[in-house]
């Protein structure tokens, strides 16, 4: 298991390096970069100083290495400093946002809690809805419940979240007035009243994302259950005279959960991507909203860093899913 994990980890490194190079070059060599947008009236020597101040006068290769060093050494060191009060890599150049001149990771650190609260709750809700639906749909295949579940799943992954979210806003916020239309990021939970308020403003974004996630996961749960329901060990368990409850919820469910768990792990990075839409629709001030803001403001370091963080998340959760699969199902391991 350990060698398997280590081998998977080693394989992830070249992938990440290639992706980082792609993201870096794409943003850096594009014709629309702000380096070309300094007004012509600016004298050449001032222009030179401006470009140098942004660190953009070095060759591409040098900048890439510097960026990698900042990303993998300076920034983690600063994080450790923040936690333990150590003094690693002090006085080193950090990745600075061109919008605010503050370190990119400070901005991200401020915004991540917002994203995690909303997205995390939504994903948990999605799983909590999807598993029972998937289990019961498979147990009573082709029943009315199963057909309704199929319809729900089909609608769930056909209606894009920006539309389902808008519909929820129109119905529950505009017509019924039960929930606020916009998420108030500045609110802090101090007492019962503000907690209720926080719950109310979270309801719509969480529902939007949660239902979309539930649709996908419930399909996987159903097909995985169906595959196991006809297996020989299930017949054996029934033949031994075990109750339906034990057969379905212990024998079948445990084995069916193995692929579903990996699907859940694989889905985590993509919900961060999907969160870009939900965050913009509801005005949640998370990292998705930060990305859109940075794109509109031509803030290259911010865009590069955020895009790379999304890539790291994808590779990381692919890795977690693989290792989890190997851990849960010993037949999968290749060592």
């Amino acid at each position: 298991m350990l060698t398997y994990t280590i081998r998977r980890l080693m394989l992830a490194i070249p992938t990440l390096l290639v992706i980082s190079l792609v993201i870096f070059l794409l943003v850096d060599l594009a014709p629309g970069s702000p380096m070309s947008e300094i007004p012509l009236t600016v004298p050449p020597e001032v222009r030179q100083k401006m470009i140098a101040a942004m660190g953009a006068d070095q060759p591409v290769f040098v900048r890439y290495i510097l960026w990698l060093r900042q990303f993998f050494w300076v920034e983690p060191a600063q994080l450790v400093n923040g936690w333990f009060g150590t003094h690693f890599a002090e006085g080193e150049q950090r990745i600075l946002s061109w919008q605010s001149r503050s370190p990119v990771f400070t901005v991200i650190g401020q915004r991540i809690p917002q994203t995690l609260t909303v997205i995390g709750t939504a994903y948990l809700l999605g799983i909590a809805i999807a598993l029972p639906i998937g289990i019961y749909s498979a147990y009573r295949q082709y029943s009315l419940f199963d057909q309704l579940g199929t319809l729900f799943a089909m609608i769930g992954f056909s209606v894009p979240t920006f539309f389902s979210g808008t519909l929820l806003i129109i119905v529950f916020a505009v017509w019924l007035g039960w929930f606020p239309t916009k998420y108030d990021t500045m609110m802090s939970v101090t007492d019962w009243d503000s907690f209720v308020k926080q719950l109310r403003q979270m309801t719509l974004p969480v529902l939007t994302l949660g239902l979309a996630n539930a649709a996908t996961i419930s399909r996987y749960m159903r097909s995985s259950m169906l595959e196991n329901m006809g297996a020989d060990y299930v017949r054996t368990a029934r033949a031994k005279g075990m109750s339906e409850r034990v057969v379905v919820l212990k024998h079948v469910l445990r084995n069916s959960l193995i692929p579903v768990v990996t699907v859940i792990a694989l889905g985590i990075p993509s919900i961060f991507g999907g969160a870009i839409i939900t965050e913009n629709l509801f005005g949640v001030n998370g990292i998705g909203a930060a990305l859109i803001l940075a794109i509109h403001a031509n803030d290259l370091p911010m865009v590069q860093t955020l895009a790379f963080i999304f890539a790291v998340l994808i590779v990381l959760f692919n890795l977690i899913a693989d290792i989890l699969y190997g851990f849960l199902d010993p037949r999968i391991r290749y060592d």
């Binding site: 992706i19 539309f163 519909l167 806003i169 129109i170 870009i276 839409i277 794109i295 895009a307 692919n318």
Partner: protein
Amino acid sequence: MTDLSALKPESQTRAIWAQFRTHKGAAFGLLVLGLLVLAVLIGPLLWDPPKLSVVEALKSKNLGPSLRFPLGTDQIGRDMLARMIQAGKVSLAVGFVAMFIALVVGTTIGVLAGYYRWLDGPLMRLTDVFLALPLIPLLLVLVMLFRDKVASLIGPELGAFTLIVFAIGITSWMQAARIVRGEVLALKEREYVLAARSIGTPARRIIWRHILPNVVSPVMVAATLGIADAIITESVLSFLGLGFPPDFPTWGRLLFDGLQYMQLYPERVIWPGLAISLTVLSVNYIGDGLRDALDPRIRGR
């Protein structure tokens, strides 16, 4: 002697069609998608809204549904029905063209990786890297950085279309490539391929004549689902304000424009949203039906 013509086997296309028709969702999907495509193709011929002068347009802004404007007008007095038709044409075109690009790239890479062993490793690593790319952020960045450049080369409308279609196409070929590679790996071990090789058929010809026709069915399913994905991706870009310019709308763009007026005129958001959802839903159902119809294990049961 028995009449041989009575034993003539049923044509495969007909068998597939017969199975496809029994799938209620797929039949419904085909009907709805057909109607939508028909509406955007012949809609402009049937519905030609009167050209309004500036004053008339100002007077007729934000109107509700009426005989003159069946879906009302927008904030600067444009007929919503005409805009919906125009937007639908672009949205559907984006879906079909982007899917086509993804399919060509995916099939090529899949066939090459499956047929030539020495290309398999590098091409599959490339696929893995593409699968690990964060697509939505990357597409947003691509559109932001290259929009002005491409627009200055071939005009804002064609530029936006080309850029978005290509960006979506080259970031969504990976599934098709994996499916095709798997099929080709199995196909090239079959006896008829060996026979073709033994009489000296060149590799190109084996691929075109013997391999490609046999990977058509899995590719068709991937293609159908690809249309749905492309339409959603395009509308996401438009929805985030990084898609098509406002005077060249898509359904996603109309929805984005309608958002600011959502509280007063919710129908302006609902119509384009409904159009996107219906298209994607019907395409997904068609894909589902096709998968069942093309699977010989399910067909005929």
